[in-house]
Structure formats: structure tokens, C-alpha cells
Amino acid sequence: MGFRPFNLAKFGAFSFPHPTPKVCRRTVKTDRRKKWMVCEQRNGRTLRGWRGTGTWDDDDRTGYPRLLQGFCEKENKCHGLTLLFLNRIDILHEVAIWQKNFKRISYAKVKSRAEVRGGGRKPWRQKGSGRARHGSIRSPIWRGGGVAHGPRGPTSYYYMLPMKVRVMGLKVALTVKFAQDYLHIVDSLEMPSPDPEYLLDLARYRHWGNSVLIVDVNEDMPENILAATKHSKTMTVMPVIGLNVHSMLKYETLVLTLDAVNFLEKKLLWHDTRFSPLYPFKLPYKDFP
């Protein structure tokens, strides 16, 4: 099937082919310990996503997603997108493993010698029969007997990482997506047609990759995009609340709406400057909604 020309008017059309990226490196001096952090920006790439103009200058940071800017401007904290060297892949690993394991409940169970049916009576007398002495036919050394140290009952592997570690994991995952050019930001999710083929074509045109995770703020999204992704395995739409490290690592590309970026920025950066809780956050605080 050949490439079909489609109407990109909703997306702030850009009708010329994808420009070749020009990498320009900018070094940012953070503190007196002379750690030179490299902030990589690529001119002309679709960091602005489906918005307008296609090319933008290095100096023009008005369109630069504020989440990333928030990270860049932080002085002493080494996190976020400026710090490609200090990226905490170990925290990413911790959070990913936590996600995998904390929900896990293993249902493996075997019967011990007390639970196997039978085996209450002594099979033969202690002395004089010539055979080895035994107390029950269900002891672990017998065939058909219980298991001595087997898995016992449903076991849970629940644990929680500290809140700030989980938040850091999200930040690092976003950093990693950005650094590998897999992060895209979009105005809104309105689509001209509910055709899944349209979305596939768009993804191919934008060089997004095999799998796309589209994140919006609310759950009520335009029906067209819901219809387009309904039967697709590798393209998923998700509310921001559902964002997590495992999904970000599983899907190749991450597409955020601007609202989603603002939301994330607010939520994730709050943890840098908050007080530690006197009582759980779910109880009402005066200055925190």
C-alpha cells in the first residue's frame, strides 16, 4: 500500500519532508565543582511535535517544553534532562523491578506431611520387623508423602520504594526518552479520521518507531483517537495518571500532550521542594489540594 497523502491541517501542517537533524551541543556550567553538563538540542527536529513550524532556533525557547526547562534551570539538583552523565539508570532499574514485583502474588503451595491425606498410624512396629523404622507413611522421605520445605501458600512480594525514588524513576525515564529522541510533544489529540491506518501512516511518517504510547491528561479523549487505537496492539492511549516507568520502557515512542507535560511538571517537580509529611498525604493539608 503506497503512502496516502492526508490532511495535516489539524496538526499545524508541515508539508515538507522531515528535516535532517543538526546537533548542536551547549555546555552548561552548574556549580563550582565544575561539572560540565551537556545539553543536547537538535535543531529542526520535531521536539515541538505536531505544532507549527518545523524549524526553530536554538535561542528560541518559547516552545521548549517547560518540564524540561524546569529541569534545566535547577541549579544544584542533578536530575532531569541536562544531566546525561548523571542519569540514574540504577534508579530506573529499581523502579522497574518494583513495578514488576510488588503486585506479584505467587499461588504455589504444596502439602506438608500434616496435610497429606492419611499417615496417622505407625506403619509397622518399631522393633522386630526387620524394616527401617517409620512413624507415618506421609513423611517426606516416603513416596507420596508431604514436601518438607516446599512453597507454602499464596506468598506476596509486596514492598514500596520511597516516594521520592519513584518520582525520580519517572523523571529519569522521561530523560532517557528525551535523550534517545523518543519523546514527542503535541498540542492535542484531535484527529481528522478514526481510521487506525491513518495513525499508522502518521507514525511512519514521523519516524516514531514500532510502538507508540500516547498520553493525555484526562480520560475523555477525542473519539477518533480512541477508535483508532482500540484494536491496535502497539499503539495505546493512556491518561497521565497511568504513566509509569515500565510502560515508558516497553513502548518505543512516548507522545505527550502539552497539558500532560504541564501536569507532569507540576506533580514531579513538587517533590523536590516539599516538606516531609507529618501525616499521610491522603489526609487534608491546608496548602496542598
Binding site: Y158, R166, K233, G242, V245
Partner: protein, 128 residues
């Protein structure tokens, strides 16, 4: 007659001509694992509904205003949601949550297990 015998011996010994190059008898033990071909590797679909959506809403606490805790997302036995413990702790918790509606045999076994584990942990060994 002699030719039949010779044919049989040669068939069993795999038609070996001489005693020096091959063994003249057969160790006719069939292989325990019978395979006619290399088994096909199992194909795992990495994009099922469950695998594609795994991990969604795990950060519902941080991103969602702390009203919901991720431990309420865990699907499993009531006494194990958001709880981790060793076997004795799990048995005790199970008895507290669910003991009243268990079958009598199961409850009896559970009680026996608790008694045994209590003695094991608190009376024997170095850790008591």
C-alpha cells in the same frame, strides 16, 4: 538354517563385518526421549492486552493526588493485599481475615500449621 541364524546375528549387531572395527553385539536400549525432529520454540506474543497495559496506574498515588494507593490495585487474596510477611505471619493474618468462613478441614490444618510454626520459630535454633 545357518544362513537364517547368521542373518539374525548380523541384523542385531548392525551388519558388522568383523570383531575388530565394531562391536559384535548390540546394546539394544531404546532412547528414553523420543524425538523425530527438533521441537519448535514457543512463540510468545509480547503485545497481549495484559502485557501492553502492565504497570498502568502504578503511580496513581504520586500523579493522582494521593487519594488512591497502589496497593489497592493488587488483585489477590484479601489477607495478602499490600502485606508481606513470613509464613507464620501470613497464616495468622489469613486466620484473622478469613478463618471464619473456611472449611473445617482447612481451618484445622491452618491451626496445626500455626502451632507448628510458632514452636519452630520461637523455640528451636539460633533465632528464638
Amino acid at each position: 538354517m545357518a544362513s537364517i541364524l547368521r542373518w539374525g546375528w548380523r541384523a542385531l549387531s548392525g551388519n558388522c563385518p568383523s570383531f575388530t572395527s565394531q562391536r559384535p553385539f548390540t546394546l539394544g536400549v531404546p532412547a528414553l526421549i523420543r524425538m523425530h525432529a527438533i521441537p519448535k520454540p514457543k512463540t510468545v506474543d509480547r503485545w497481549t492486552e495484559k502485557r501492553a497495559m502492565f504497570g498502568m496506574y502504578d503511580n496513581v498515588g504520586i500523579l493522582g493526588g494521593f487519594t488512591v494507593h497502589p496497593r489497592s490495585l493488587i488483585r489477590g487474596p484479601v489477607w495478602l493485599r499490600g502485606f508481606r510477611g513470613n509464613e507464620l505471619q501470613r497464616c495468622l493474618r489469613k486466620r484473622r481475615f478469613v478463618g471464619e468462613r473456611m472449611f473445617e478441614d482447612d481451618l484445622h490444618n491452618l491451626n496445626k500449621r500455626i502451632r507448628f510454626l510458632y514452636k519452630r520459630f520461637n523455640r528451636y535454633g539460633k533465632m528464638r
